[in-house]
Amino acid sequence: MIHQYQMNGYNIVIDVNSASVHVTDELAYDAIRLLDNGADEQEARRELMIFHPEASADEIDDTFSDIRELISSRRLFTEDVFRSAAGVLKERSTVVKALCLLVAHTCNLNCEYCFAAQGKFKGGEGLMSFETGRRALDFLIENSGTRRNLEVDFFGGEPLVNFDVCKKLVEYARSIEKQHNKNFRFTLTTNGVNITDEVIEWANRECYNVVLSLDGRKEVNDRFRVDLGGRGSYDRIVPKFQKLAAARGDRNYYMRGTFTHYNTDFTNDIFHMADDLGFTELSMEPVVTDPGDPCALTEADLPVLYEQYELLAKDMLRRERDFRPITFYHYMLDLQHGPCIYKRISGCGSGTEYMAVTAWGDLYPCHQFVNDPEYRMGDVWNGVTHPEIRDSFKDCNVYTREECSRCWARLYCAGGCSANALHAAGDIHGVYEYGCKLFRRRMECAIMIKVAEADMKARGIPFKNNDDKEVPRIE
């Protein structure tokens, strides 16, 4: 399977099964398209002479010679040799390596679009006790096999409403990780309201990653991110986020925003966070909500969003040439050292390697399934008592989703989000097509950035990128 597109002056060809990325001239671009459409070399050659009367016979010969070379080195028109591995994945025994701890089923903000319904997840309010959290960490260690790196996200609701328990849980984890040969990596996801100097010092010492929720411009942020009295949060949280990010040094953090139908010009929110507020690590997610919600993204929004993603990619390249790079989470791509094929076909890990734990210790496949009784898997004391749910999630991969087998981006997304699929298609084995469309566009942009960086490097144009990834060499 081949995917071809043109962006920012580049003709880009992706060989899907080998995940190879090629940049071509017009002649090769059209030749590959003709071959991909089923023409044999002779037919393609005839068509090419009609499309490109300016091309000499030698040039056309060279073009097909290049293509043959790539085919023989298994980088173009490759077969899918990984399908058989999907069966192995289904039968594999999995270990748990990541938990999302819902330490607070309550929130000090009242954001209307919140998928977690202000942390209550359509249930009651509550805080996780230290004892429940400690048992969750023990459960993780007991079920993690030989995995060394264990991830724990303090999530909610708003986790800092229950900060004391977060601190104690980290202390507990640090006290036992060495004896179990484990390395806990904590993430804090916060709306910022309760950030204090103590939180900053703790987060920067203990948390591998910090996710800070801000939607961008003040009027955009304050449309949804309001407190229980309806007052916008921007003025209260921005100075705290700036202080935390400044103190964080080189450690990971993300400004994480949500865009909706009301701000389809979301690049202005990203640029506001970068240029006016000084943040460099940025993530901006499309809202996930009921299609009937007025803030839901629409089909008519799609062309605008496609354009926005491309505009963002081009602007990021401009910033790289100005030596003032920013990171956009969805454009981080490591072509040389990225995930292995098992990761690329095996899905996100929800319900198998990754689970959410409620304040009361119940286990769900991920944070987006919490309080859905059909998806309660068990609890941290008794473990997974509904293995059939785990098995059903184990069976989610790019080969069990029919739509994925026709999608060029499958090895960059691993089959997408099961929760989104359930909400959009009624089945965790389905797909959320709207999200797929946006994902494909983001991948086109991310790959174009890598192509442009390789081009700049080859042409000796100085630039600096911000994602710690090596610029891929041109072979």
Binding site: H22, T63, D66, N149, Y254, H337, I341
Partner: protein, 48 residues
Amino acid sequence: MKHIITLETRDMEQSAVKGGCGECQTSCQSACKTSCGIANQQCENKEQ
């Protein structure tokens, strides 16, 4: 090659031989929480 430039990318078939250690980050755990992608995940296998 005169008409095609190829970027260096990880060999997927080779990754099937040495991959699958599972030490990499869980997809949704890092920043998104409402969508999924693995392209931005770093491989943690130093022997890849």
